[in-house]
Amino acid sequence: MKRRDFIKQSSLASSLFFAPNFIKEFENLSKQSSQIKKLVIIQLSGGNDGLNTIIPYTNDIYYKNRPKLAIPKNNLIKVTDDLGFHENLAHLKNIYDQGYLSIINNVGYPNPNRSHFRSTDIWQTASNSDEYFNTGWIGRYIEKFGKAPYSGIELDDSLSLIMKGENINGIATKNPRTLFNNTKTPFFNKVIKQQTDAHLSEHNLGYLYKTMIEAKSSAKYIYETSKTYTSKFQYPNNPFGKQLKTTSEFINSNLESKVYYVSMGGFDTHANQSNRQSRLLKTYSESLEVFIDDLKQNDTFKDTLILTFSEFGRRVQQNAAGGTDHGAANNVFIIGENLKKKGFYNTSPNLLNLDKNGDLIHSIDFRSIYATILEKWLEVDDISILNKSFQKLDFI
C-alpha cells in the first residue's frame, strides 16, 4: 500500500470510529476498484428526441415522418455523410472534433417500456423490463466496491434510485456546506455517539438512524475536501451548469468519490418540441464544454468518463402538437480523453425497420455499456453488480 493511501484510509477509519458496524462493513474493501478513475453520469430526463439531436439528414423516411419537426439539411452541423448534429450542439461538435466523443446509436433493451418512471427505473437499476429491482446499479457498486456512501454523489437535493443500495446509499448534495453544517449540530452528534448498534434493526426507524450516521461521516469529508478547490471557470448560469461546476470542484479537489450523477430535466416534448429541445441542447452542450475545459486544466479529464443517456428516445413520427411521443431505442454519448473508438461507434438508426409502435429497435443493450464501464473503466467485476453477463463493447 502506498503511504498516501495508507494515511487516507486510516484517517477515514478514525472518522468512522464511532459508527456502527454496518457502515464499516464495505464488502470488498480488498478488491477496491481503480483509485483514480471517475465516472460522471448525466441523464437527460423526460426522453430526449435522439433523432433531432443526431440527425439522419439524408434519410427520406425521417423527413416524411416529420414534416413540421424535421431539422432541415441546411440547419444542422454535418459530421458524416449521413449524420449531423443539432445546430445548438456546436460545443459538442468541438468535443467530437477533438476525438473525445463516442456516439453509440440504437441503445435500448428488449420489450421497451414507454413510461418515464418505469423506463427510468429500468435504466437506473439495470433490470430487464419485466424485473423490479429496488437498488440502483451505482448503489450496488457503492455497496460492493466503494469505500463509503460518498463513493457516489448525486448533485441534487434528494437521492435517486440509481444511487441506492440494499444497505448503503450514495449521498445527495447540491451544496456540501449546508449538509455539513446540519450534521455539525451538537445535539445530533450526541444522539449518534449514543448509538451502540444493538437497536438499529427496526424497520423505518433503523433506516433513519443509519442514514443519519452515514450523513455525518460523509458530510465532513466531502465538505472539508472539496473546499480546497474552487472553480474559476464561467459555467452557464442555470441549474445544470451549477451542478457540473460543483462536480468539477469535487473531482478537482481529489475527492475520493468515484461516481457522480446529474439529472437534467425537461426533455418530455409532447408539444412544441422545437424551441424547447433547442434550448435544452444548448444548455447541455455549453455546460459540458466548460466542464471538460475545467477538468483538462486540472489534468483530471484523462481520468474522467462521462456517460449521457435518456430513459428512451421518441417516436419517429411527429404528433399533432408539434411534438413527439415516447419511443424506444436512443443514442448514448460517451465522453473521455482516450476513447478506443472515437466518433460514431456503430451504424445509424434503421428507420425502415421499426417496431409495431413505430419506434426504433435497439441493437445494443444499455447494460453492455454499463458492463464495459464497470470492467474496463472502474475495473470491477461487472457480473457481481449487473447479476448477469453482458457482452462488452470496445469504446474504452
Binding site: 413510461s115 437535493d157 448534495t173 449514543q194 426507524l205 442514514t211 409532447h270 408539444a271 399533432a320
Partner: protein
C-alpha cells in the same frame, strides 16, 4: 380508545393533534370520535384567493387577451398569475393547519399525489383544480376521475387538449391508466391507443368548463380492455372501474399512505373488497378507521412523515407564522415537497424516498430552525458542554435564521405542567430507540419548551 390510539388516528387522518384536542377526545368513545371526524368533514369549503386584480384576464382566451393587451402587458399579467400560484401554495398549507375539515383536507392532499397535476401559469385553472380535489376527496371515486379528466389544468398538463382525431396524443390516456387508476402492466399499448381515441376532442372553454370539440372527436368503434363499442372518455373510465385492479390499485395507495408502508396482502384484499363494491371513498375510510387492526401496534408510528406532515405537525403544537413567504417555499423545496409543484406526473414517491442524508439532516433541523433560531439545547445531567456554547456563539453571528413569529406563550400555557413522559407520548408515536431514550432521560429538563424542540429533533419524530 386509549391516548396512543387517538394520536395514531389523528396523525393518519390529519397532522397529529395538540394537547387540548387530545384531552377532549379522551373522554369520548371510538364511535363518537369517528362520527365526529366524518361529520367535521361533511361540508366542503373551497379555497379561494382574492383574485380581483386579475379579473381582467379571467375567462379570456389567449386570442382575446392578445386583442386587448400588448405583449408586455400580457407578460406582466402572467407574472402576477405565477405569483398567485405561489400564494395558493401558502394558502393551501395554512388551510391544512385549520382545526376543521381535518379528514377532507388530509384526503385532498393524498389525492393531489394520485391525480398529479401542475399548472404554474394559470391561477384560475389550478385553483379550480385544487378545489376539485377537495370537493371529491371523500366522495364517489367514479365522479372524481371523470371530473379530473375534464379539468383545464389536467387537459393542459397531459396534452389532452392536443389530442385530436387526426393525430391522437397518448399522454393522458397512458397516465390515466398507469398512474391514476390501474398501474403499469394491467393494459396493453393497444389499449392506450384506443383510450386516447376516446378522449380526442376533450377540451375546455374560456370559462374553464369542459367542452367537447365534436369535429376533433373520434366517434368510431373502439376496442378497449376486451370490450368493443363506440366509447367516449367517460365510457373508458367506466370500463377501467369495472376492473377490480382499479380498486386494488387505489387501495394500495391508501394502504401505504394511511395504514402502513408495508402491505399486509390479506388486509389489502379486505379493503379492496369494500372499495370495489361502490367506489365510495368515505365508506372505505370509515371501514379502515373503524377496524380494530388499524390500531394494532404494528401500524403505529411506522410511517415516515411527508415534509408537509412534518411541517404542519410541528405547528399543531407550537403555532408559527412565517414572516417571509419565500423562506416558507425554501423549506418545502429543501425537503423535496413543494405543494402545487410536483416534479413530474408520478408524484412524490413517499416513504423512504423522502429520506437521504441531505434531506434527513434538514428535516431533523427543521423544528429548531422554525421554533428556536436553529438552536437545540443540549445539557446533560452533571456535564457542561463547552463545545456546545462555542458552536452556537459562532453560529449566531453568521446564520440567517428562518424568520418566524412563534406562539410559545400559548405553548407555555397549555404544556407547561406536562411531565416529560406525557410530552414524549404526545409528540413521539414511534417506538424510541433504546440508546436515544437513555440519552433523553439523561438530559437536564429545564423547560418543556426546550424539551419540545429536543423531542422534535430526534429521528423518531420523523415517523408517525
Amino acid at each position: 380508545m386509549n391516548k396512543r390510539q387517538i394520536i395514531h388516528l389523528f396523525w393518519r387522518a390529519n397532522f397529529g393533534l395538540n394537547i387540548e384536542e387530545l384531552s377532549k377526545l379522551e373522554l369520548k368513545s371510538k364511535s363518537e370520535i369517528l362520527s365526529e371526524l366524518f361529520l367535521d368533514s361533511s361540508e366542503n369549503t373551497d379555497l379561494k384567493l382574492d383574485l380581483n386584480g386579475l379579473s381582467e384576464i379571467e375567462n379570456k382566451s389567449n386570442k382575446e387577451l392578445k386583442e386587448k393587451f400588448t405583449q408586455a402587458e400580457i407578460n406582466r399579467l402572467k407574472k402576477i398569475g405565477q405569483k398567485k400560484v405561489r400564494e395558493l401554495n401558502y394558502a393551501w398549507i395554512n388551510r391544512l393547519k385549520e382545526p376543521n375539515n381535518k379528514l377532507r383536507e388530509k384526503m385532498a392532499l393524498f389525492w393531489a399525489n394520485v391525480f398529479v397535476c401542475r399548472d404554474n401559469n394559470q391561477i384560475f385553472h389550478i385553483q379550480q383544480y385544487n378545489n376539485i380535489l377537495r370537493k371529491h376527496a371523500l366522495g364517489d371515486f367514479r365522479a372524481f376521475v371523470k371530473a379530473i379528466a375534464k379539468e383545464p389544468s389536467m387537459s393542459k398538463y397531459l396534452n389532452n387538449r392536443q389530442n385530436i382525431k387526426q393525430k391522437p396524443n397518448e399522454n393522458f390516456a397512458r397516465e390515466l391508466m398507469e398512474l391514476f387508476t390501474l398501474g403499469i402492466g394491467n393494459y396493453s399499448e393497444q389499449d392506450i391507443k384506443e383510450a386516447a381515441r376516446a378522449f380526442t376532442g376533450w377540451s375546455f372553454d374560456e370559462k374553464g368548463n369542459f367542452k367537447l370539440r365534436k369535429n376533433q372527436h373520434d366517434f368510431g368503434l373502439k376496442t378497449f380492455l376486451g370490450k368493443t363499442g363506440y366509447f367516449d372518455g367517460e365510457d373508458i373510465i367506466d370500463i377501467i372501474l369495472e376492473q377490480r385492479q382499479c380498486a386494488k390499485f387505489i387501495c394500495t395507495k391508501i394502504y401505504t399512505y394511511f395504514i402502513n408502508p408495508i402491505i399486509d396482502e390479506k388486509r389489502l384484499e379486505e379493503i379492496t373488497e369494500v372499495f370495489f363494491k361502490d367506489y365510495d371513498i368515505s365508506n372505505l375510510m370509515k371501514y379502515i378507521f373503524s377496524s380494530n387492526w388499524f390500531y394494532n401496534e404494528e401500524n403505529i408510528g411506522v410511517k415516515i412523515k411527508s415534509p408537509i406532515e412534518l411541517l404542519i405537525g410541528i405547528q399543531k403544537i407550537v403555532p408559527v407564522k412565517f414572516n417571509k413567504k419565500k423562506q416558507f417555499t425554501y423549506l418545502q423545496k429543501m425537503m423535496g415537497q413543494t405543494l402545487l409543484y410536483p416534479e413530474n406526473v408520478s408524484g412524490w414517491k413517499g416513504g423512504r424516498n423522502w429520506i437521504d442524508s441531505n434531506t434527513l439532516m434538514f428535516r431533523m433541523k427543521l423544528a429548531s430552525l422554525i421554533l428556536n433560531d436553529a438552536i437545540i439545547n443540549l445539557e446533560e445531567k452533571g456535564e457542561f458542554e463547552a463545545s456546545f456554547d462555542a458552536y452556537y456563539k459562532k453560529l449566531k453571528k453568521k446564520n440567517k435564521f428562518i424568520k418566524t413569529t412563534k406562539n410559545w406563550e400559548l405553548f407555555q400555557s397549555k404544556y407547561k405542567n406536562l411531565k416529560p413522559k406525557e410530552l414524549t407520548d404526545l409528540l413521539i408515536v414511534s417506538k424510541i430507540n433504546k440508546d436515544t431514550e437513555d440519552f433523553l432521560n439523561n438530559l437536564e429538563k429545564k423547560s418543556n419548551k426546550d424539551f419540545c424542540v429536543q423531542l422534535m429533533s430526534i429521528p423518531e419524530y420523523q415517523l408517525c
